[in-house]
Structures are given as structure tokens and as C-alpha cells.
């Protein structure tokens, strides 16, 4: 298992697409978490984006005390979509390049290889989370120093909880991409379907259910995106008014955590069952 894990890490480490996705997530986090708010803050009350929001409040949103909001606030939607793409290209690439047969004719069993792939993806997702966190730390500290803001930080427990919650959200979307790639033995179709689901269908469903079909609220509340947003809302403790798209208190944090764990388990088991049984042609 250790050898397979090392092999999977080598593949991820040397694949430029993995780092491009990470770079996209990092840049988007910094743009929406710091650059745009800072421009709003710097341009003052004349800026329509900050209309009605006190400048002090905008600044507070960029200081170290709100570090987790900016680190994982975008995970349920845009970083989640990038994680789904990661899962789809890593697992789907084995089918499109035909490398699955090369790997499966080495020594380890199929499920060992799939397990090593998931473990390596989990490691890479952890690196993404820590990388984005480190960049957010630098930005928060820089802004706090420049604007003479508060340097108070959330407690270590809150930080760890936020990072773990963010990792779980991204891992769930990554496994969703992986299971779609196994199902379709492809890269493009899983990415297309997955991204449309994250960026469009879930948001649309939530809107329709809340405005037209309140009786179907239970259905909206079991969807992966809803639970990802609820977990992020819970672990950051952000105010509803400050919440970015996709982050809301639809269900409790505990329920969101269990639902996301269940999704991870379902996606992993489905991928394993299919990989184990299917002919590699």
C-alpha cells in the first residue's frame, strides 16, 4: 500500500494540471477574500459594492480574526468545483490514457490501487487547504499591519476545526469527481456534469424549493452542496449577512458533517465496487 501511495503522489506531484487547479483556487480565494474587499475599503463610501457597509466592517472582514471565513468561504462552490475537476482528471485520466491496465498488471490488487489514489488525493487536498490558509494568513497580517488593525486570531481549536471542515468539503467534491470518472471511464463528461451540478443545479433547486416548493425543503437539505455550505457556515461561525454564495445555515453543523461523511463513504464504495468488478478493456 505504501509503494502504491508513493507512486500516486509522484503522479500528482509531477502533473501540472494539479498545480494549475490549486493556483486557480488560491487566486480566486485571494481575489474574493482580500483584493476586492480591500479595493472597496480603499475607495470608501463612493464604491457601490460597499454601499451601506461601514468601512470598519469591511476591514474587519480581512483581519486575522476572520481568517477562516476567507480561507474556506469559497470551498462549497468554486473551490469545490476545482476539487471535483481534480478527482475527475486523476481517476478519469487512467481510462483515457489506458494507463489503468499498466497499473493493474503490476503487483497490488485493484482496491489497493484505488485506496492509494484516494489517499494521495486526500493528501493533495490537504496541501491545497494549507496552501490557501498560508496565503490568507499573509494577506490578513499584511492588511492588519498596513491598516493598524487588530492582530487577534481565532483559537487553535477553531482553526483546526475550520481547516478540517474545509478539507472534508473539498474531499467530498473530489470523490464525487472520482466516482463520476469511474462511471463514465472518461474525463470530460464527469467534469461537465459535476460542474454544472455544483454551479447551477444545486443553486437552482435551492431557489425553487425555498420560493415555490417549500414542502421539498427536506430534499434540498440532503444535497451535497447544501451540506457543504452548512458545514462551512457552522465551523466559521460567520454572520449570515457576510456569507459568500453557497454558505448558509440550511442544516446544523453536526448534521452537515455526518451527511458529508456519508457522501464520501458512498462515493468511495461506489467507485471501489465498480473498479473491482468491471473488465478493463
Amino acid at each position: 500500500m505504501l509503494g502504491s501511495y508513493r507512486a500516486e503522489l509522484l503522479k500528482l506531484r509531477k502533473r501540472s494540471a494539479v498545480w494549475v487547479l490549486f493556483g486557480a483556487g488560491l487566486v480566486l480565494s485571494l481575489i474574493f477574500g482580500y483584493l476586492l474587499p480591500y479595493l472597496g475599503y480603499a475607495t470608501g463610501d463612493e464604491n457601490p459594492q460597499t454601499d451601506g457597509v461601514p468601512r470598519a466592517e469591511i476591514l474587519r472582514g480581512m483581519l486575522p480574526e476572520r481568517i477562516m471565513d476567507n480561507t474556506i468561504g469559497g470551498y462549497p462552490i468554486f473551490a469545490g468545483a476545482l476539487a471535483l475537476v481534480l478527482g475527475a482528471i486523476v481517476i478519469g485520466g487512467e481510462y483515457t490514457w489506458g494507463t489503468l491496465k499498466t497499473v493493474l498488471t503490476q503487483r497490488p490488487r485493484r482496491l489497493t490501487i484505488l485506496g492509494a489514489q484516494f489517499l494521495a488525493l486526500g493528501t493533495m487536498i490537504a496541501l491545497w487547504v494549507l496552501g490557501i490558509f498560508a496565503a490568507c494568513v499573509l494577506c490578513s497580517v499584511g492588511i492588519a499591519a498596513a491598516e493598524d488593525g487588530s492582530m487577534s486570531w481565532p483559537g487553535v481549536g477553531d482553526l483546526l476545526q475550520g481547516l478540517a471542515g474545509g478539507w472534508l468539503v473539498l474531499m467530498m467534491w473530489c470523490l464525487a469527481g472520482a466516482v463520476l470518472a469511474v462511471a463514465f471511464r472518461n474525463v470530460a463528461l464527469p467534469i461537465g456534469l459535476g460542474v454544472v451540478w455544483i454551479l447551477g443545479i444545486e443553486t437552482l433547486l435551492a431557489g425553487v424549493v425555498s420560493s415555490l416548493l417549500p414542502g421539498l425543503k427536506w430534499l434540498a437539505n440532503i444535497l451535497p452542496g447544501t451540506n457543504a455550505g452548512s458545514l462551512v457556515f457552522s465551523v466559521t461561525g460567520m454572520a449570515a449577512a457576510d456569507a459568500p454564495p453557497g454558505v448558509r445555515d440550511a442544516v446544523s453543523g453536526d448534521r452537515a458533517l455526518l451527511t458529508l461523511l456519508a457522501y464520501c463513504a458512498i462515493f468511495a464504495v461506489l467507485a471501489a465496487w465498480t473498479t473491482r468488478r468491471r473488465d478493463v478493456t
Binding site: 509503494g3 502504491s4 508513493r6 507512486a7 509522484l10 503522479k11 509531477k14 502533473r15 501540472s16 485520466g93 490514457w97 489506458g98 494507463t99 491496465k101 499498466t102 497499473v103 493493474l104 498488471t105 503490476q106 503487483r107 497490488p108 490488487r109 490501487i113 473488465d279 478493463v280 478493456t281
Partner: protein
């Protein structure tokens, strides 16, 4: 002698199509076994079953005494099935490094196999920049990485230039002389004739022949063109049975006696204008067997 590969009544059905139909096959230790057949005959499907990539519909398959796909069996088997497939963004060296990680093989062995297939100089280049022949050689290097007892190669000379084909033939022969068992699938009949000990011929999913190469090609004959033909025929009967074929006489005799036959004919005043040995090429037998079956019974398609 226990067979390293033993297949009995192997069948693989895809929906209504029978890709492999009751194949029996036996590969003995230390031999180079040629697996011949036209495109779509079921060769690659059979090899995929032997490597555990696909499950048979019915029949029994034993490889190295175990079930295909088991860790112990895979450990002793090196294979290249269909076209060589590697990660295009990695170098040849990195591709082998990660396969070595999966298989638990030392770094030193990577250098050895790269040297063996003459890829050391280009090992650090990306796989996507390799020519077809280099990709093929990397595939063979990967198959040999585990220092396997059984090597399964599916069309290993595809895409190679004549020099590359010659090198590959030499390499396969060396594998055989090293005591490894090689199962080689090919449609290049001359190649199989040169390097294989035994061949199995598959057509439309069915095994139509499995023999020692020499047995399959039958006895050799001496072809004689001489005048006067009747007198020559009378003399030649002393050496073996004679029959006429076109303008020549065919004598079933040990080819080592060709000089003696020539001397006797010339001393008898017969003008010999042609004298050489002949043997049926594997190609002739292959076409006889595959055409016979194709015209007689088409591949079963119940769909």
C-alpha cells in the same frame, strides 16, 4: 512438466458476441510460445484474461499455478498488452519509477531494463515526445521490470523500424535462452517462425492449431529441375518418394543429402538446372488454417 499457463475451455462473451470460444492453451516453462491470429481473432482478449484485466465468461485459467490477477501471479508476470500505455506528462524514467513503486522493485532494476531496451539516453525525456518505437521499447522495459518468470508481449514489434524489429527479436530470443517463458502474440508470421518454439493459432475466437513450429511446417522436400525428367525421376526414387509439381520433381529426403543427389544425377548424365530444399512457411499454414475456418464457419455472433 507443469505448464506455466494452462487454459481450458476459455470463453469470453460480450453481450451477444463471442470473442473467445472454448480456447485451450498450454505454455510450458522456458519456451517461447507464439500466439497467432488475424485481427479480431481473440488474441488480446485472451491475453487480457491471462493478466486479470478481464474476467472470463467460462473456462479455467491458471497462470503460474494461481488465478490471473492475484498478487503472487502478477509478481511473477510481466506484460505489455496492446499498445504501451504510460503517463504522457512523465518521463520514461519516472513512468518506470512509479511502476517500480507499485511492484516493489529496486531503482537498480530500472537502470538495467532501460539499458536492455536501449533507452537510457532518452530516459529523462517525456513519454509524450517518444516515437512509436521508443514507446514500444518502454513497454517492454516495463514488462521486464519485475524480472518476471513469465513475459506476455502483445505485438511487441508494432511500430518498430527494421533495425528495431531485429533488436526486439534478439531480445525475445535472449529472454527465452535466459530460461524465461515468453508468450508472444503477433501477426508477423516470419517473426514468430524465427523466434518461437511452439505456436498456437487462433481464428474467430477458436484455437485452430497448437504445435511445435517444425511439426506444423511438416517435412522438408528437395526440389529438382532436371532433364530428362523421366530418367531423373527414376534415379531419385532411390532417395525417397518422388512426386511431380509443375515442372519440378519433389523428393522427400533429408536436405543434408542434396549434394549426394546432385552428384548421382550429374554422373548419370542428367542436366540439373535447379536444386534446392523447400519447406512450408508458417505463413502458408496460417492462411490455410485461418481461411479454411473463415470460409467454413464464421465467428459465432448470436446478437
Amino acid at each position: 512438466m507443469d505448464a506455466l499457463v494452462e487454459v481450458s475451455g476459455l470463453t469470453k462473451r460480450y453481450g451477444g458476441t463471442l470473442a473467445v470460444d472454448g480456447v485451450d492453451l498450454k505454455v510450458l516453462p522456458g519456451e517461447v510460445y507464439g500466439f497467432l491470429g488475424p485481427n479480431g481473432a481473440g488474441k488480446t482478449t485472451t491475453l487480457r484474461i491471462l493478466t486479470g484485466l478481464i474476467a472470463p465468461t467460462s473456462g479455467t485459467v491458471r497462470v503460474l499455478g494461481g488465478r490471473p490477477g492475484d498478487a503472487a501471479v502478477l509478481k511473477g508476470t510481466g506484460s505489455m498488452i496492446e499498445s504501451p500505455a504510460f503517463y504522457p506528462y512523465l518521463s520514461g524514467l519516472d513512468n518506470l519509477r512509479l511502476l517500480a513503486e507499485y511492484a516493489g522493485v529496486s531503482r537498480q532494476r530500472i537502470d538495467e531494463v532501460l539499458e536492455l531496451v536501449d533507452l537510457t539516453d532518452r530516459a529523462k525525456d517525456r513519454f509524450s515526445t517518444y516515437s512509436l518505437g521508443m514507446k514500444q521499447r518502454l513497454g517492454v522495459a516495463a514488462a521486464l521490470l519485475k524480472d518476471p518468470e513469465l513475459v506476455i508481449l502483445d505485438e511487441p514489434t508494432n511500430g518498430l523500424d527494421p533495425a528495431g524489429m531485429r533488436d526486439m527479436r534478439r531480445l525475445i530470443r535472449e529472454l527465452g535462452t535466459e530460461g524465461r517463458t515468453v508468450l508472444l502474440s503477433s501477426h508477423l508470421l516470419g517473426e514468430v517462425q524465427q523466434i518461437c518454439d511452439r505456436v498456437g493459432i487462433i481464428n474467430a475466437g477458436r484455437m485452430v492449431a497448437e504445435h511445435n513450429v517444425d511439426e506444423l511446417r511438416g517435412e522438408q522436400e528437395l526440389v529438382v529441375r532436371a532433364t530428362p525428367k523421366d530418367t531423373a525421376q527414376a534415379i531419385l526414387t532411390r532417395f525417397g518418394s518422388v512426386h511431380q509439381y509443375d515442372d519440378t520433381l519433389r523428393v522427400q529426403v533429408d536436405p543434408a543429402q542434396a549434394a549426394e543427389v546432385n552428384r548421382v544425377l550429374v554422373e548419370a548424365g542428367i542436366a540439373v538446372s535447379e536444386l534446392h530444399t523447400t519447406e512450408r512457411a508458417l505463413e502458408d499454414i496460417f492462411f490455410e488454417l485461418t481461411t479454411e475456418l473463415s470460409t467454413g464457419e464464421e465467428k459465432t455472433d448470436v446478437g
